[in-house]
């Protein structure tokens, strides 16, 4: 992954507009947040392979990172805190936000084909 270049990311977002896509959306502060800090609360959510079609999408710079919003016919897909991106060899747009130690805090990924869903390896 590389630091997001807004104009390039916008072009990639535009490419998927108007066609059915699979979305992986995720945020987490880790499974150990409250183990290391009793005041902290473990928070996380993910949805994998939401099958949506967005009319348009936009990426907004926040100074330290980026927000992305995808407008659906009946709703929105939204992510804040994105910092890095890549288009992988399967032409999927992968975006993520990492903290100063490289830990993933948020991810938004868009693909024309489903993301691997079952465990990747069966004995």
């Amino acid at each position: 992954m590389e630091p997001i270049v807004k104009e390039e990311a916008q072009k990639e977002i535009d490419k998927f507009a108007g066609t059915p896509v699979y979305v992986h959306l995720e945020t987490t502060n880790g499974a150990y947040a409250s183990h290391f800090n009793a005041q902290a609360h473990n928070v996380g959510a993910f949805i994998r392979n939401a099958n949506v079609t967005y009319e348009h999408g936009k990426i907004i710079s926040t100074g330290g990172g980026y927000r992305v919003g995808l407008k659906l016919e009946l709703g929105w897909v939204y992510a804040e805190g994105l910092t890095d991106y890549e288009v992988d060899e399967q032409n999927r747009l992968l975006m993520a936000g990492h903290d100063e130690q490289g830990r993933l805090m948020v991810a938004l990924e868009i693909s024309e084909t489903p993301f691997a869903h079952e465990a990747d390896y069966h004995e």
Partner: protein
């Protein structure tokens, strides 16, 4: 016949961080040890530092890292095929049957897993619970060693019956930790604190009769 040990944890690296020294010492004592790894850690948030993995490639890295780690520890690995972060949502009875059937084939002398309810990560608690139930259902149940992590474990459960000084196997454990490159940095930071390092050189386990 050599002692047969099955280690059951959900993530690539649990075997090393939680029990690497113990595993290395059991291997040196002549035991045949197999790691049954529940998932590939697909949903981990450590992506290397600097970042070299992403959500879609993380499992490939972690599987490869685990292959190196088990080679350092001198053990085999079997993948159970569950998905990271979702174990607690699988039907418990199905997992228990899955594990009991496999355990009855292997007939281990010792099973090492997480102490359910005291292992912090939901996957640890869920797979530990299934493993404990599977062992309980066996006609000739193996010995159970249970790794607890949560801060309140000693307050609730008392002292673990087993405390293994693994100083002599620290080099092996360290080498195995380093193979888990995508995940190791957080742990390595922790080890820079002298008190934590000393703690890591003793591995503690509750026994089956300490279950409540």
């Amino acid at each position: 016949m050599s002692k047969r040990v099955i280690v059951i944890f959900p993530h690539p690296d649990d075997e090393t961080f939680g029990a690497g020294g113990t595993i290395a010492s059991l291997v040196e004592e002549g035991a045949h040890v197999t790691y049954w790894c529940g998932t590939l850690g697909e949903m981990g948030r450590n992506m290397g530092n600097p970042v070299f993995a992403n959500r879609e490639t993380l499992s490939i890295h972690r599987k490869r890292e685990l292959e190196e780690a088990v080679s350092v520890l001198g053990i085999d690995v079997v993948h159970l095929g569950y998905r990271d972060k979702t174990i607690e949502f699988e039907p418990l009875e199905e997992m228990v049957t899955h594990l009991r059937t496999k355990l009855e084939e292997e007939k281990p002398d010792l099973v090492l897993t997480h102490y359910p309810g005291y292992a912090v990560h939901p996957d640890h608690d869920a797979l530990g619970r299934a493993a404990v139930e599977a062992v309980k259902e066996m006609e000739e149940p193996p010995e159970l060693w249970l790794h607890a992590i949560s801060n309140d474990s000693e307050k609730d459960l008392g002292e673990p019956a087993i405390a293994r000084d693994i100083s002599n196997y620290w080099d092996t454990k360290w080498k195995a930790i380093r193979t888990h490159l995508s995940q190791a940095d957080g742990m390595v930071d922790l080890l820079n604190r002298e008190d934590q390092l000393e703690r890591m050189k003793t591995e503690r386990f509750y026994t089956g009769d300490q279950l409540r």
